[in-house]
Amino acid sequence: MSNLATDPLFNENEVFISNASNQEEVFREVAESLYKKDLVTEDFINNLLEREKNYPTGIDMSVVSPKIPNIAIPHTESEFVKTRMIVPIKLTNSISFHNMIDPSKEFDVRFLFMILNDDPEGQSNILAQIMDFMARTSENELVSFFKASDPKDIYSFLNRKFMQYAKDND
């Protein structure tokens, strides 16, 4: 497995628009779909729920710009996934997450980048690529992107930006 930074991290068929109203609901919705496609193991959902409870993954974007919604990067230990990709999940309802770098704090999140990573030693760090996307994309583009409600638009924008930043980093 090469895991070059420019390898595609998104799949057009794995982009979700969720009407869930809490963490467990959205995690179960997405995990069930991923399990049916053999992208994760049967225990993925349990590890996902347990990890989020003990080691939350909310990222406060208000420190970057108050116009950009907060995100979360839910993920499991590598043994519970069978691929290496990012699953974008737009939340039509805000869902509360705890802050990854200060778990005592809680805030509303509008978008999830669920990370499936069966190769943590791979050359390119998936989380670093997500944060590069958040830090390097202009505020106007991000505001527009987070309003998108068509999975195809979400996929094409993310794919284009991630490929662009990965090439810039080469």
Binding site: I101, D102, N125
Partner: protein
């Protein structure tokens, strides 16, 4: 060599980003640094004795006390120089005080 233990919940994403960032930045600052990335739940008192610095994502209760210095490295994850700089400076301070690196 100065040894750093980076840790996160899954040992997959965040800790590896911290490891890569600290090795790169401290290397650029002229220090000989090696970092390992692990799951918080796998850290033992004996393991910790092999390291000069512990850099979790957030304040972490390991269930035991340790004399190893701790620098919370979470802000590095933002990939923004202004947020990472205080973490890097704190790490560099510990390296200097240790006489290693």
């Amino acid at each position: 060599m100065f040894k750093i233990l980076a840790a996160c919940g899954a040992g997959v994403n965040s800790s590896h980003q911290i490891k890569d960032a600290l090795e790169t930045e401290m290397g650029n600052r002229g220090y000989d640094v090696q970092a390992d990335a692990v799951m918080v739940k796998d850290i033992t008192e004996d393991m910790m004795k092999n390291y000069d610095l512990f850099t979790p994502i957030a304040a972490t209760d390991l269930g035991f006390t340790s004399d190893v210095p701790v620098v919370d490295a979470g802000p590095i994850l933002y990939r923004m120089p202004a947020m990472a700089a205080p973490v890097y400076d704190a790490v560099e301070k510990v390296i200097k005080e240790s006489g290693k690196g």
